[in-house]
Point group: C2
Chain length 182, copies 2
């Protein structure tokens, strides 16, 4: 399968290692499954996140998926924009995805997708090129990211395979089967 | 907006209160946002999940969203099928969503959507009418549920509003606005 047409990185704000370990890992899994280049987390450094993503990529592929924790979000947002990329913040307060997705899709710019935690600084709303609501109901940032990426890639990315995988699933109607990649 | 055409309940297997509190709440938020009738969790009882969903529904609406924790999954699955419903288990090992979604969509049967934890008993794979893979990569059960529901409702459910909401979002390009429902 072709690589995604854009460089995409997911930035998770305000990661708190103990509390957010699993939620942030789910964000990382979602980013990887859709072929994003990497996951950055702001807040405290957290080697456990790096480690758990590494376990996944060493087995299922995509070892070059980049995980950086403890980044300075303000600095990263600024740099991303200076380098010509666009910033997409997923928030229930933003404009409905149905209104903005075709504009985002038609832009060739690299996409930094920002997902929040409970309190996102208003500065993020201002710096973002798009504040996108995956519906206007309170929701999960993991759900929001998944739906955003699924729609951005028009469903095609769910067929993604990774060349460096050691194991692949053999789809089955009612069991679990794993095989070596062909 | 019209109610969903099917009764849908999400069943989360093997909920462990401390470890899974946030992930299971995200599953509940996703289920609610898409208008499912409720969330059942198997494993230990957990009043915190009930409480946090209640906080959401009392403010944002859908107070009749049902949350039951500590259910016996085997019993619930059997009863659901006896009553004519179908069981859809989301798992990376199953058949690709693109292959089965139209069949699921065309069936009028009530849908129990089962999402797992790390180890799902093989019995669940056998009892399920469909084992559906939201792609064959390791992923988040929250992401899987969100994509499944978004596709099942062909994207329409992200416009859902709840009549008993005390507050609603006013979509904004770059800020946060909330209003009383009209």
């Amino acid at each position: 399968m072709k690589p995604p047409k854009w460089r995409i990185v997911v930035l998770r704000l305000d990661h708190r290692p103990e509390r957010d370990k699993r939620v942030t890992t789910h964000i990382g899994l979602t980013a990887r499954a859709f072929g994003a280049s990497g996951l950055w987390t702001a807040g405290l450094k957290d080697l456990k996140i790096v480690e758990s993503m590494k376990q996944v990529t060493s087995q299922w592929g995509y070892k070059r998926f980049e995980v950086i924790t403890g980044v300075n979000w303000r600095h990263r947002l600024r740099k991303w924009k200076e380098e010509g990329g666009e910033v997409i913040h997923l928030t229930m307060y933003g404009l409905h995805i149905d209104k903005v997705i075709s504009k985002i899709d038609s832009s060739p710019r690299a996409k930094l997708i920002v997902v929040g935690s409970s309190k996102v600084p208003i500065e993020v709303f201002k710096v973002a090129d798009y504040n996108v609501a995956i519906g206007h109901q309170p929701h999960s940032e993991i759900a929001a990211l998944a739906i955003f990426l699924d729609r951005l890639f028009q469903g095609k990315m769910l067929h993604k395979r990774f060349l460096d995988a050691k194991m692949e699933i053999k789809p089955t109607a009612d069991g679990k089967r794993v095989k070596e990649p062909e």
